[in-house]
Amino acid sequence: MTTNKKTLITALLCIAVSVSVVFLPLQMSPAASKALAITIWMVLFWIFSPIDHAITGFAGCFLYWATGAVSFETAFSGFSQDTPWFLFGAIILGTMVAQTGLARRLAYSVMSVVGVSYARILLGVIIVDFLMTFIVPSGISRVVILASICLGIVEAFGVAPKSNIARGLFIIFTYTATIFDKMLIAGAASIVARGLIERDGGVPVYYSQWFFAYLPCDLITVAACWAAVLWLYPPEKKELAEGRAFLDLQLAKLGPFSGREKRACVLMLVTLALWLTDFLHHIPASMIGLGAGLAACLPKLDIMDSNDFKRVDPLPIILVAAVLSMAVVLVQTKAIDVINAAFFSRVNPLVSSVNYSALVLYWAGFIYHFFLPEPSNISTSMPLLMGFAKSNNLSPLGIGMIWTFAAGGKIFIYQSPVLVVGYSYGQFEAKDLLKVGLILTVVESLILILLVPTLWPLIGIR
């Protein structure tokens, strides 16, 4: 069968499934029914990819409006949220470090400390990603910082984009950026979750308790990610052929910092400093990211020119905005209530205790995440879960923590803006994310089965 025919059949099947939703005997308004059908269509198209993700997202927003489910402002509300424009700034910063040569210099410098073996570099990247979670709470920011180094590492190894080395490095720091911030109260999802557990669950949530509850998981995840990537993507070169001599030569070749590189470096340092000190000044990470991206394009700074600005790929921005719009539409039309009712009526009977039901909760959360990106998946479901926990004498903290952790399990790009940012560097494909995501999700669930009944009761989560 030709690719065109396959695409057509896939598309028709996805459309048929989503249209059938309209005819289901569900208690909901016509607007909610339309919104649900369109959302299912979008999710299926994102999963099976008959057309580009961004086109699917944009078409979905258009359909929300054109079918009269919601107003234009609601259907396209994601475009007036800060996340897609944070991404816009992040893409500009990524282009800046690559074009000025700063990425290469950074990479050579890092490699001269960590070593020239790929396995060591990979481990270093994962550990840095983990450690940065404490000081840079924004997943997108972490990805931008690590991408600026890894772009140079890929170049230093002399391999092409989408080579095993490039895939391995980019997929792992992108993916772990969305896991580690569930194991700490850092990042939008866990911060929102903490607030909701305290408000609706009526229990205090301590940073330290959360941290210790997941500490073993952090360490095992670091090791598991490293081993999984080395297994899935064996490097084309185990280490740099000429070793440290090559690094020294390359650093010498780069010579002193050029004017553009210096300005780019200063801008990155200021950005980093602002991200690291946000607990002092409380400037949102997105404001810093977008501001830095725009500053890089200003004519007198001479870091990037207007052509570089014009070349910024708009499709990741459209995709992220569409995903955010989808969440707003589901909430506003109350279609999410229907999803919640159907979903939790099946899940709740399986949850008898925190210890024994960790697996059920984790996988239920994983599936629920297909319909909503984070942190919307947390904000729409957590109040219901907390109500369920309280009425059944279950630990709201335990239930809430597992549910939040489940938001880390992802296998599709559209599920998180952080994944879209990593993907936008063009170093890995959607199928790589599916593969790595699926393996790590299984690994994380196994770790959880061990932790919940053994460690958690020791620190008062039962």
Binding site: S80, P299, K310
Partner: protein, 475 residues
């Protein structure tokens, strides 16, 4: 290129005008921010940031979209408005309607349909120079429906016109060459004000709906300017024949042969062309009949644009989408956001009373109001060269002022938009620059033709506004 050379190039590219913008815009922002006025602080700060945006747009100190983003970022970062308001233009239908229009244009040129249409009509009509000239003007008008980008239309038509001029043995500065290229270029910037096609009229429609709170139908706009379209075609034709009498009236076989050869080279209709023709017919059909079904023009534009991206049905793919000039879309959204912030902070009220109060005495009759509006728009466009920038910065203020005086926003918006078509210098539009870059006419040719046509258009408008528009319910 070494880094040093690249930096030097970047420096040398900044002209004095841009330098004025780069230095002047922040100074104006600071001056207006701290100026002792009676405005409320939010309004004053919104005006200060808007002034920075306008100055950056007017001096073209940086990319228009980038200047827009800088302004929106400042609205948010300096606490003038919430993020949702500062970036509200992105959740307004206008920029996405423009995306739909651009997608349609990309479909027409990528599939080869636009070229086929141009060659077919010019081959059929153009047996003499004057007929060929008329054919090019008519094709330019008809292509406005298919290719909503003036630059794309000029690129397609000027390439064909230049090839024809060379084939019949004339040079770039011959009267035939001047006449053909000049009129193809100039009309590309007029026709798209008389149809909702192209960034300027799409943006204007959005602003009229947003600020004036009225529905703007595609068919109504089209019918309002239909007599003007026909008169413009005739006037352009006669004026060019008068100003640039051809060296030779009857074309040699080579000219017609060239056009026929090019048409033959296109071969039979490809699948992509057929699909594109079907989609375009659907779009034009739906737009023209929107007074019956009342389907929003943006829905039509966007749905056809998106269908064009669907495999099997469509003509283009995600890579074509990536190559689209998103700067125009970002800029349109930024301009709308600026208007929204100004309105929300009440900065628009202050601006309107300051900028428009002198006009009050001149708008006592429909004729006087029309003339005042048209020529004020024309003069304003001399200073704010880019037509979308000209409309986005002035139209909300103009609408606010005239509606306060008891005028209906629709005719005011229509006239002001039309005024942005009057141009006499190449710098006033990227479309003119593209046509000028072919080297077939000089700046003084553009000045001469532009001035005559601007006067002619204002006279046509004087007839239409009081006599014809009331018949369509536009009063």
């Amino acid at each position: 290129m070494s880094t040093t050379t690249a930096t030097a190039t970047l420096h040398s590219e900044i002209s004095i005008k841009q330098l004025i913008g780069l230095i002047g815009a922040p100074l104006v922002l600071i001056a207006l921010w701290f100026a002792p006025t009676n405005e409320n602080p939010a309004a004053q700060h919104a005006i200060a940031i808007s002034a920075l945006m306008i100055l950056l747009w007017a001096t073209e100190a940086m990319d228009h979209a980038l200047a827009g983003f800088v302004g929106l970022f400042l609205f948010w970062a300096l606490g003038v408005s919430r993020f949702e308001s500062a970036f509200s233009g992105f959740s307004n239908e206008t920029p996405w309607f423009l995306l739909g229009a651009i997608l349609i244009g990309t479909m027409a040129s990528t599939s080869g349909l636009a070229q086929r249409m141009a060659y077919t009509i010019t081959t059929r009509i153009g047996t003499s120079y004057s007929r060929l000239l008329l054919a090019f003007i008519i094709v330019d008008f008809l292509l406005t429906f298919l290719i909503p980008s003036g630059i794309a239309r000029v690129t397609v038509l000027a390439t064909i016109a230049a090839g024809t001029v060379q084939a019949i043995g004339f040079g770039p500065r011959s009267n035939i060459g001047r006449g053909l290229l000049l009129i193809v270029t100039y009309t590309a910037g007029i026709f798209d004000k008389m149809v909702i096609a192209g960034a300027a009229s799409i943006l204007a429609r959005g602003i009229i709906e947003q600020t004036g709170n009225v529905r703007v139908l595609y068919s109504q706009w089209f019918l309002a300017y239909l007599p003007c379209d026909l008169l413009t075609i005739l006037c352009c034709w006669r004026i060019i024949l008068w100003l640039y009498p051809p060296e030779k009236e009857q074309l040699t076989g080579a000219g017609c042969e060239y056009l026929r050869e090019q048409l033959d080279r296109l071969g039979p209709w490809s699948g992509a062309e057929k699909r594109c023709a079907g989609l375009l017919a659907m779009a034009v059909g739906l737009w023209m009949t929107d007074f019956i079904h009342h389907l929003n023009p943006s829905i039509v534009g966007l749905s056809i644009g998106l269908l064009g991206l669907v495999p099997v049905i469509g003509v283009i793919d995600a890579n074509d989408l990536r190559k689209i000039n998103f700067g125009a879309i970002w800029f349109t959204a930024a301009a709308l956001s600026m208007g929204r912030v100004l309105a929300e902070t009440k900065g628009l009220d202050g601006l309107t009373s300051t900028m428009m109060s002198w006009m009050g005495a001149l708008i006592h009759s429909p004729i006087a109001s029309t003339l005042t509006l048209y020529w004020t728009g024309f003069v304003y466009h001399l200073f704010l060269a880019n037509e979308t920038a000209m409309l986005s910065t002035s139209l909300p203020v103009v609408l606010k002022f005239f509606t306060a005086q008891g005028f209906h926003p629709l005719p005011i918006g229509l006239i002001w938009t039309f005024a942005s078509g009057g141009k006499i210098f190449a710098y006033q539009s990227a479309v003119l620059i593209v046509g000028y870059s072919f080297g077939y006419f000089e700046a003084r040719d553009l000045f001469k033709v532009g001035l005559i046509l601007t006067v002619v258009e204002s006279l046509i408008l004087l007839l239409l506004v009081p006599l014809y528009w009331p018949l369509l319910g536009i009063v």
